[in-house]
């Protein structure tokens, strides 16, 4: 045990001494490891912040809910091939929604929403206009607030009677209050959306930001009202509906989605064998899609970092061989004074491991700083991907072992007489 501690102290001293002697050379060698490790840590930090925020979002969502939409709800595609498909895919219409509603048996609840994200509508109170673009403007006949996890701070939710009558009532997010009603309660007051007056019936609690979007810059109205005033006429103005469907439970979710697909295909008269011209997705699928997106990024980063670490490892092997040549005399002296092969072997191996771990620690610090600067910039909470910090240190130690092995073996085999004569 004493012997091991002796080696460690001796090796740390040796490494520090050689850093002092060969600052530039060592720094350049370390840079390879630092770049590799810092890129892993930076990307993992950013991905972790995203995962954390989406996980908390999805944890809130009901899992027995599924969606029918015109466009892929998670646009994870590279290149710009989305444009072609979009033109061919028909929008989901109110008529289709009503047919679906009549025919589905396994769905306990169903709602249609239309969402403008962001919205270019002019939002005003008297002569005061909302200066920034409205982040989200939606119309719905269902309880969007509970699905999207908004809590009402004051006022009431949209009710059936509002939908039946296409009432001009609106729910506003906290940002709207801050901007247009800084000194008063907006509930009961009027707001104009594209010069059409609405009565504010509810103010929601502030939610902050999610993935860079201001969740409080939001206005919601009954879908009937939306279709009546903003639905437009003709092909271009017709709104695109998203359908939110709720199965009775998780157990019936799969049957309910199958039924919905069948019925919707029948409504659209899609021949058997033709693909769906709509998307259907459960919350789990949304998460899976996001998950597969992040894991493909992880694999890519892993490859790039892996290559840079191999290059860095070769650098370590090289610097250890150079250091070996410079220290042949020292090895001879140490052997003459009683160092066995294993002593010299361990001395060199420990030095290689220390160099790689040091490079790794610098890389971790840089990667964490960079990743969290990006996270802060994207308005995410800072995180430390502990798992990856641990992996990185492990990878560095293994690299030190793998690439330090050959120089260490070579050093251990030197003959003391010849080595002491070496100059």
């Amino acid at each position: 045990m004493n012997r091991i501690i002796n080696y460690l102290v001796d090796a740390i001293g040796g490494v520090l001494f050689y850093f002092g002697q060969t600052k530039l050379r060592t720094a350049l060698t370390l840079m390879g490891i630092t770049v590799g490790v810092s890129s892993i840590i930076a990307i993992m930090t950013v991905l972790e912040t995203f995962e954390q925020s989406t996980e908390s979002l999805v944890a809130d969502m009901k899992t027995n809910i599924f969606y029918i939409t015109k466009d892929n709800p998670v646009q994870v595609q590279f290149g710009n091939d989305a444009g072609w498909g979009k033109r061919k895919i028909p929008r989901i219409t109110w008529d289709e929604y009503e047919q679906l509603k009549r025919n589905l048996t396994l769905v306990t609840n169903m709602a249609a929403t239309t969402t403008e994200e962001p919205s270019d509508r002019t939002i005003s109170v008297g002569k005061e206009e909302l200066k920034s673009r409205l982040a989200s403007f939606w119309g719905s006949d269902g309880d969007v607030l509970s699905v999207s996890k908004y809590d009402i701070l004051d006022g009431r939710n949209i009710q059936d009677v509002d939908i039946e009558n296409a009432s001009r009532v609106a729910i506003v997010g906290y940002y709207i209050k801050e901007q247009l009603f800084p000194y008063s309660n907006p509930v009961g007051q009027n707001i104009e959306i594209d010069n059409i007056p609405f009565e504010i019936i509810a103010l929601t609690e502030p939610k902050g930001e999610l993935l860079g979007q201001n969740m409080d810059s939001m206005i919601g109205i009954p879908i009937s009202t939306y279709l009546k005033y903003y639905g437009g006429k003709g092909w271009r103005g017709r709104p695109d509906l998203q359908l939110i469907l709720e199965a009775e439970s998780m157990d019936t979710l799969e049957d309910a989605t199958d039924e919905a697909i069948g019925v919707f295909r029948a409504i659209r008269k899609i021949s058997p064998g033709d693909p769906n011209n709509f998307y259907i997705a459960t919350n789990d699928q949304l998460m899976d899609t996001f998950g597969s997106f992040t894991s493909s990024i992880k694999i890519f980063v892993g490859l790039v970092a892996g290559i840079s670490l191999i290059v860095a490892g070769i650098g370590i092997a090289n610097i250890m061989l150079v250091s070996l040549t410079e220290r042949i005399k020292e090895i001879g002296i140490r052997k003459a004074l009683g160092a066995r092969r294993v002593d010299i072997f361990l001395q060199f191996l420990i030095e290689a491991i220390l160099i790689s771990i040091l490079g790794g620690i610098v890389g971790i610090i840089l990667g964490l700083s960079f990743g969290n600067v990006v996270a802060t910039f994207l308005e995410q909470d800072p995180v430390i991907p502990y798992e990856w910090v641990f992996y990185s240190l492990q990878i560095c130690a293994s690299m030190g072992i793998i690439f330090g092995l050959y120089p260490a073996i070579k050093a251990s085999k030197l003959n003391p007489i010849d080595s002491m004569r070496y100059d």
Partner: protein, 229 residues
């Protein structure tokens, strides 16, 4: 030579042969030699005579091609690298012509090096190294690096390093070769003192004046012992 003394080293018919491709060099040719406790021996001979080879074999840095080498009761000629390293560490103190100190370490740390390989705890290492530096009178220079010391002081650090493991023999290879005469004399006086204190010293030299100070003189010529008295 007092025969009543205890034999430390017994070399019997030892040869060392180097195969250099075409030519075969007999560096040592059938050499037999006994070294006793508290001997003070100088080994002399011209360069190429085989005295360095004999030193390397006595110092367990090399093993003979033929013959038997016994150190106390251990058969050195049959040992592997690691066993030789342990013998060097525990039983032999080396003093070299060029000092062979590690430039990155200070005097204290240089003296500690042999102790690193003998499984001693840090506290004991420091105590032993301090003691050895006291013996050579360098207690005030413990934190100095070799390049901050004079030649004589460096050689005294090397002697302290040789003494630190309380070896059975001290092997000195031209210990005054790189020193001015004043420092050289100091070192030789020091060796005389070490001998008086009971240490066994074997010294390689090519200077008559140095050899005269020893109690026994061995001359090597063409790989053979030409004189032993």
């Amino acid at each position: 030579m007092a025969k009543s003394k205890k034999e430390i080293i017994s070399i019997q018919s030892v040869s060392k042969i180097y195969n250099l491709g075409e030519t075969v060099v007999k560096a040592l040719d059938n050499v037999s030699l006994s070294i006793y406790d508290n001997d003070y021996i100088s080994i002399m001979g011209p360069s190429g005579s085989g005295k360095s080879t004999l030193m390397n074999i006595i110092g367990c840095l090399d093993v003979p091609t033929k013959g038997k080498y016994k150190f106390k009761d251990e058969l050195i000629s049959e040992m592997d690298d690691n066993q030789l390293a342990n013998i060097r560490n525990e039983k032999i103190g080396f003093v070299f012509q060029t000092f062979n100190l590690l430039p990155k370490l200070n005097a204290m740390q240089n003296v500690e090096v042999p102790l690193i390989y003998s499984s001693l705890g840090r506290k004991e290492r420091i105590e032993r190294a301090e003691e050895a530096l006291h013996i050579v009178g360098l207690q005030d220079r413990m934190t100095h690096k070799p390049n901050e010391l004079s030649g004589g002081q460096r050689q005294r650090v090397a002697i302290a390093r040789a003494l630190v493991n309380k070896p059975s023999i001290i092997l000195a290879d031209e210990p005054t070769g790189n020193l001015d005469s004043k420092s050289g004399n100091e070192i030789l006086k020091f060796f005389a003192k070490l001998h008086k204190d009971g240490n066994t010293i074997i010294m390689v030299t090519h200077e008559e004046s140095v050899a005269k100070l020893s109690k026994r003189r061995i001359d090597i010529f063409d790989g053979k012992i030409a004189r032993d008295e």
